[in-house]
Amino acid sequence: MSHGSGGQMTAKLINDIFFKHFQNDILLKAEDSAVLDMNGKIAFTTDSFVVEPLEFNGGDIGKLAVCGTVNDLISVGARPLYLTCGFIIGEGFSIEQLERIVISMSETAKEAGVKIVAGDTKVIETKGLFINTSGIGDVISSVSISNSKKGSKIIVTGNLGEHQASIMSARMGIENNIKSDVAPLIGLANIFEKLQNSPKNIDNSEISKTAIQTMRDITRGGLVTVLHELCEKSNCGVLIYEKKIPVCNEVKGFCDILGLEPIYMANEGKMLIVVEEKYADKVLEFVKNCLYCENATIVGEITDGSDVILKTLIGGERILSPLYSEGLPRIC
């Protein structure tokens, strides 16, 4: 508990772990607040992370805490710049594990090009580790969940369900090679910049600056949940094709056994992008060249209905309802 007292032990923890790994000019000033240079519109978001287990195949709570906030900023068309992080640490938590998680955060932040400029630490009697991150980014493009127009195409940036399958495997003691997809999708922010500065694609035909109408981080609740939010806010319907939904074979097998559906499962490094129909193939080409997005594909389109409809492999249509509870494995 003394690490949370605010005294010397707290200072030691901050110096030995947080300052050591997160170091940057703003943080090391150790002021009560970070002072930032910002121009124009900024995007600002916050998220708390409480995952169990703390370390899993493909990532850990630290990487998750950076990627979650970074991707939330990107999905409103912003370039992520600065993060803050709050650590709530359970008494007796291993310093080695804490340092591993902090290193992981620091590496992910570097990859995403963001600085961790302020932080806070508390020690509590409950076991575990909880992290909150807030983030600020420069708004480059005006995309919005309310902007999707009828006829536009829906891109999903990669295979679905991997984060949830990885976490569930760890919790259930199932051995497999499924890795969480947790990743900072910084390449997508680059696309906005590219469209903004020189809206040309590789064969020199022009892409409108407003070609991308909506972006949304596909996290808890999965693709279907995001599509429902989209329908409500953009006042539209959606048609997606089962045969187009990208899912890797291992996740497919995992879901078949447990009766889960990848379209309802959580991801931590996937984005939904709605693009004006005539630019869809070109934007897809850009997206596929981004790191972590090589399996991007067009999964469907915006309709003038109000439901989220899945055209099934066998040719039937199914209305996809919102997720109403956690996916629980079935008995038989």
Partner: protein
């Protein structure tokens, strides 16, 4: 015959037929793959009693809650929200949700001073695993069983519900018990019975086969899942079941007592007199009619209006394998 011709036949079928898919997983695949969209309105698919959560008695839940005063209850997630007479397992804290029955053994071995009770619920599909558990069970782990046999339930339905014309037999159960136990059923009640797998195409083909057999008055068993279901089933699994369990009468939620429909074992916690079970009827809830194939979930007056997965009134809404829960989603 190619699939497009089958689809066309099914879309244009003009006689009335009612087919019961016994297994909850079949109901789920039918829903998820949009199969009903491909069928003529004359083909009525109804769900059967093949969701173990839906037919587990109120008494069983009450017993688990009573045992939770002394034991840590180990259960699958599906069971948590099912209501007993007053409470559900969601209302007690002394429980752990498991994903795999064998986790129960690990827990009991790792914590020898704690006492555990595993809620062993299921049909023949899960029996071999429970039999294996019994072989390794440490003293601090007990089982409270509600293990049911599907054939007596189908006999009950055939005796009491005359409107069902054909059955899709549950593929997973058949993998254990084999095709043979269905022969006498098909013959006695004059119903085509199709053993089928779980891909949408498989199910579509089995609906087509059921209709063909019904039209030809061919009342026999057709095994379309031969790569998994053998005539005599899985003989090793059956031997294991035989070694540990014997048959008894059982109480089915919404139905009542069905003779010879339970698997029990000697040290079973479930020492109750099922004759004494009186279940209170829930006003308006028509889960009984749903699992007996009398109605589709949407015909229940509570469905969607009062009974939803977040506020499940009847057991068919609780489970991911329950007909109402599946139709709702």
């Amino acid at each position: 015959m190619d699939i497009e011709k089958i689809k066309k036949y099914l879309k244009n079928y003009s006689n009335k037929i009612k087919i019961m898919e016994v297994c909850g997983t079949h109901t789920s695949v039918i829903r998820k793959s949009g199969i009903k969209d491909l069928l003529s309105d004359n083909i009525n698919l109804v769900s059967g009693p093949g969701c173990p959560v839906c037919v587990t008695s109120v008494f069983y839940i009450d017993k688990l809650i009573e045992l939770s005063k002394e034991y840590i209850i180990l259960t699958f997630g599906d069971m948590v929200k099912v209501k007993g007479s007053k409470k559900s397992l969601a209302d007690i804290s002394n429980k752990i949700v498991l994903y795999n029955p064998m986790q129960a053994i690990d827990l009991a071995l790792q914590n020898p001073t704690k006492k555990y009770c595993f809620a062993a619920v299921g049909f023949e599909t899960t029996l071999p695993i429970y039999a294996l558990m019994l072989e390794k069970c440490p003293d601090n782990l007990k089982l409270l069983t509600s293990l049911k046999s599907i054939i007596p339930a189908l006999e009950y339905i055939c005796d009491n519900e005359k409107t069902i014309d054909a059955f899709l037999a549950p593929g997973h159960v058949c993998a254990v018990i084999g095709a043979k136990p269905f022969y006498s059923l098909a013959e006695k009640y004059k119903k085509p019975i199709i053993i089928t797998g779980f891909s949408p195409l498989h199910i579509l083909l089995s609906i087509y086969t059921a209709i063909q057999m019904f039209e030809l008055k061919n009342y026999s068993v057709k095994n379309l899942y031969k790569n998994v279901v053998k005539e005599n089933g899985n003989e090793n699994a059956l031997a294991l079941i035989d070694k540990h369990f014997h048959i008894a009468d059982d109480y089915w939620r919404g139905i009542g007592i069905i003779k010879n429909s339970a698997y029990v074992f000697d040290d079973d916690f479930n020492v109750n007199n099922i004759e004494d079970i009186i279940e209170t009827k829930i006003d308006g809830c028509r889960c009984t009619d749903v699992i007996l194939g009398r109605i589709n979930p949407i015909e229940c007056p509570l469905f969607r209006k009062f009974c939803t997965p977040l506020n499940a009134i009847g057991p068919c809404m609780v489970s991911s394998e329950g007909a109402c829960g599946i139709v709702y989603s």
